[in-house]
C-alpha cells in the first residue's frame, strides 16, 4: 500500500491519500507522506538511533492527527527527522493508542534536500476510513 498526492484539494498546500492493510501500516505510510511533502531527497542514512513513542487519543482520526503533529514537533523542537518504521495501533471502545518505532535522523542541510516546510496538519477533509478491508486516510498539510 502507499500514499499518493492529490492535486485538486488545495492550491497553496499539499494533500495526500494514504492507504494500507491495517491501521499500523497506515500510520507508517502517513509518516512517509509527511516527509515526502517536505523532502525531495532523504540522503543516505546516518545510522541514526531508533526511537519509540506512544500516543493516545479519543479516536483513530484524532490519533493520526496527533501522530503527525508529533513528527512535526520533533522536527522543530529537536531538529530531528523522525521516520516511522513500524507502528501498532490499538483501537478501544473509547480511545485509540499507537506504539511507534522510528528512526530519528538529525536534520543536516548538506544531506537532506528540503522542498518546503510543513507548518501543520490541517483538519481540512481529514479522514480515516476502513473500506473493504483497506484503511485509507486523507491528509492536507499546511506549508
Amino acid at each position: 500500500m502507499a500514499y499518493e498526492r492529490i492535486d485538486d484539494i488545495t492550491r497553496a498546500d499539499v494533500a495526500f491519500k494514504i492507504s494500507a492493510g491495517n491501521p499500523g501500516a497506515l500510520f507508517v505510510e502517513a509518516g512517509a507522506a509527511l516527509w515526502a511533502a517536505m523532502l525531495e531527497d532523504m540522503g543516505p542514512s546516518s545510522g541514526a538511533p531508533p526511537m519509540r513513542f506512544e500516543l493516545q487519543a479519543e479516536s483513530i482520526e484524532a490519533l493520526l492527527h496527533l501522530f503527525l503533529d508529533e513528527l512535526l514537533y520533533h522536527k522543530d523542537a529537536e531538529g530531528l527527522i523522525v521516520v516511522p518504521s513500524a507502528a501498532e495501533v490499538e483501537l478501544g471502545a473509547a480511545d485509540a493508542i499507537v506504539r511507534c518505532d522510528a528512526l530519528a535522523e538529525r536534520i543536516d542541510p548538506a544531506v537532506h534536500r528540503f522542498v518546503v516546510d510543513v507548518k501543520a496538519v490541517t483538519m481540512h477533509r481529514f479522514s480515516v476510513r476502513r473500506e473493504g478491508g483497506i484503511w485509507t486516510a486523507t491528509v492536507v498539510f499546511d506549508v
Partner: protein, 486 residues
C-alpha cells in the same frame, strides 16, 4: 445541492454576493471582490468557504473575500469576517490561519539602483548567508522561560530593548509591533518548544526577503509615495515576508483541537471542522485570543530581528551605518490575525473582532492607529507578489468601511504546488531570473519552482481590482532585483 458559485449575484463590476438564502445556516450575505476574470480564476471552494464563514455566530454585515482570494481551510485565503463578541460572536482559528501574523514589512533605503546594481548579487549572497532560511534553520536568539514570555508579551519592543532595532521602528508597525492582550500562560509547552530556535528565521514556502527597486515608471501616486519615504529615482527597497514560525503553527493546532472538542458545549455546529469556534467570551475563546496575541508578537519580533540582520548586512557591505544608508522601516503589516477594532454598524460604533486571513488591515486617512506622519495619506498597505512579477505599496482609503477596512495581501495562487513543479524547473528559473536582473538565492530549487511567478495570479489585476472596489489605492509598484527564498 448545486454549486454555490451559481448563486452569485452582481452588486457592482467589482463585487458579487452570495445571498443568505443560498445555504441553510447563513446569517449574512457573503461578498466576493474582484472583476469577472478574477472571480473566474477562483476555485469553487472559495465560494463554498465564504458561504460557510457567513454562518459564524455574531457575524456582522457580510462574510468577505478579497480579490486575491483562493481556497483555504475554514475561511478562504483573503477571507475577512467581523463578529460582535457582545452578540454571541465567536473566535475561530480557521479565520486566522496556522501562520499567525504572517505579514510583510517594507524598508526604504537612500540607495539607488544605479549606485548598487553591480553589488546586488553579492548583497543577495550575504543576506542568504546571514538570514537563516529553509527547514531546520535556527535563529541566533534562542528564547526560553521568562525571556520567551517577555518576548511573547512585548513583540518588536523586546527586540528594540535588546539592541535589535531603533525605538522609531515601533511607530511604523501595525499595533506598534506589540499586541496587547497576550497571555503566555495560554501557550502550551509544545508551542514554546517548537518555536524556541526559530525566532529570527525566514521559514520556507512563500516567505522571502527581497531587494526591490521603486522605478519612477512604477510610481502611481507620487504624493503618497513621497510621504511613505520613496523620494528618489530608482530607490532601493527591502521587503521581508515571514510569520510567527512554529510557535504560531502549534498554537493554531492546539486550539483547533481544543475547539473541536469544546464547541458542541456551546451549541456550535459549523459545516467545516476548520471553522471550529468558541464564543469570544468563553474560557476557550479567551485562552486562544491570549495565545494568538503571543504569536502575533512573536511574528513582529521575528520580522524585527530579520530587519536588524538586513541592516547589519547592508552596513557591513557598504561600510556605512544603517542611518547613513537610510535603512528606515516604512511599515509592517499583518496578514493573519483577529483583532478587536471599533467599526460603525448601522450608524453605531461597536467593538468587533475582525478576523483577517490572508488579508491586510487598510485604515483610511485620519483613522486612529496610523503613524502620525502618514495620517493624511492612509495606512501603508504592502502587497507581496511573486519574485518575478513584483510587489506593490498601496494605501488604505476612506471607502473601505464595508470590508472593515481590509484589502488584499498578495497575488493569490493560481496554480497548485504540484502543477507549478511540473511547469517550472527551479534551476532554470533561477538562471532565467538572473538574466532578467533578478538575482535569487534559495534553500530549495524545487521550492523555488513552486513559487514561480506563473504559479500566481496577475498582481496588477489583483491590486487594480482592490482599487476599483475602493478597498485600497496603489502607490508604487516595486520591481524585484534580488531575492532570498526560504
Amino acid at each position: 445541492m448545486g454549486k454555490i458559485r451559481e448563486s452569485l449575484r452582481k452588486i457592482s463590476d467589482h463585487c458579487h454576493e452570495i445571498p443568505p438564502s443560498s445555504r441553510k445556516g447563513m446569517l449574512a450575505p457573503a461578498r466576493i471582490y474582484g472583476g469577472d476574470a478574477l472571480l473566474k480564476s477562483m476555485d469553487d471552494a472559495v465560494f463554498e468557504q465564504a458561504a460557510n464563514v457567513a454562518m459564524l455566530p455574531g457575524i456582522q454585515k457580510y462574510a468577505l473575500c478579497m480579490p486575491d482570494g483562493h481556497s483555504g481551510y475554514g475561511f478562504p485565503i483573503g477571507g475577512v469576517a467581523a463578529v460582535d463578541p457582545e452578540d454571541g460572536g465567536v473566535i475561530s482559528p480557521g479565520g486566522i490561519g496556522f501562520d499567525i501574523n504572517c505579514g510583510i514589512r517594507l524598508m526604504a533605503t537612500s540607495l539607488t539602483l544605479s549606485e548598487i546594481e553591480k553589488e546586488i548579487p553579492a548583497l543577495v549572497d550575504r543576506l542568504f548567508a546571514r538570514v537563516p532560511s529553509g527547514v531546520g534553520a535556527t535563529g541566533e536568539v534562542a528564547l526560553k522561560g521568562s525571556r520567551l514570555e517577555e518576548a511573547m508579551t512585548k513583540g518588536a519592543l523586546w527586540a528594540v530593548q535588546n539592541g535589535y532595532g531603533e525605538p522609531e521602528d515601533l511607530e511604523y508597525c501595525e499595533e506598534n509591533g506589540r499586541m496587547e492582550g497576550a497571555d503566555p500562560d495560554a501557550v502550551s509547552l509544545r508551542a514554546r518548544e517548537r518555536g524556541k530556535n526559530q525566532i529570527g528565521t525566514l521559514g520556507s514556502g512563500n516567505h522571502f526577503l527581497e531587494i526591490q527597486v521603486a522605478e519612477s515608471s512604477g510610481i502611481i501616486d507620487a504624493n503618497r509615495a513621497h510621504a511613505f519615504g520613496i523620494d528618489r529615482e530608482d530607490q532601493i527597497m527591502v521587503m521581508i515576508h515571514s510569520g510567527s514560525r512554529a510557535t504560531g503553527h502549534q498554537i493554531a493546532t492546539d486550539y483547533l483541537r481544543l475547539f473541536l472538542s469544546a464547541q458542541h458545549r456551546y451549541g456550535l455546529n459549523l459545516p467545516d471542522r476548520e471553522l471550529a469556534s468558541a464564543p469570544f467570551h468563553s474560557d476557550e475563546g479567551r485562552a486562544y485570543f491570549g495565545a494568538m496575541n503571543c504569536a502575533i508578537n512573536i511574528a513582529f519580533l521575528n520580522r524585527q530581528l530579520i530587519m536588524h540582520s538586513v541592516r547589519e548586512v547592508f552596513a557591513d557591505h557598504f561600510k556605512k551605518s544603517p542611518r547613513e544608508l537610510g535603512l528606515r522601516l516604512i511599515y509592517d503589516v499583518c496578514h493573519n490575525t483577529a483583532k478587536l477594532e471599533h467599526h460603525e454598524i448601522d450608524g453605531k460604533t461597536r467593538r468587533l473582532l475582525v478576523h483577517r486571513k490572508g488579508a491586510t488591515r487598510a485604515f483610511g486617512p485620519g483613522m486612529k492607529g496610523i503613524p502620525g506622519r502618514y495620517t493624511q495619506h492612509g495606512q501603508p498597505v504592502i502587497v507581496g507578489g511573486s519574485m518575478e512579477s513584483g510587489s506593490y505599496l498601496c494605501a488604505g482609503t476612506a471607502s473601505a468601511a464595508e470590508t472593515f477596512y481590509s484589502t488584499v495581501h498578495g497575488s493569490g495562487r493560481a496554480m497548485s504546488r504540484t502543477q507549478a513543479r511540473k511547469a517550472f524547473n527551479g534551476r532554470e528559473l533561477q538562471q532565467s531570473l538572473g538574466s532578467r536582473g533578478i538575482h535569487v538565492r534559495t534553500a530549495s530549487f524545487s521550492g523555488l519552482a513552486e513559487e514561480a511567478g506563473g504559479a500566481y495570479k496577475d498582481i496588477d489585476a489583483v491590486v487594480g481590482a482592490a482599487s476599483a472596489a475602493g478597498l485600497s489605492v496603489p502607490v508604487a509598484r516595486l520591481k524585484p532585483v534580488g531575492n532570498v527564498k526560504g
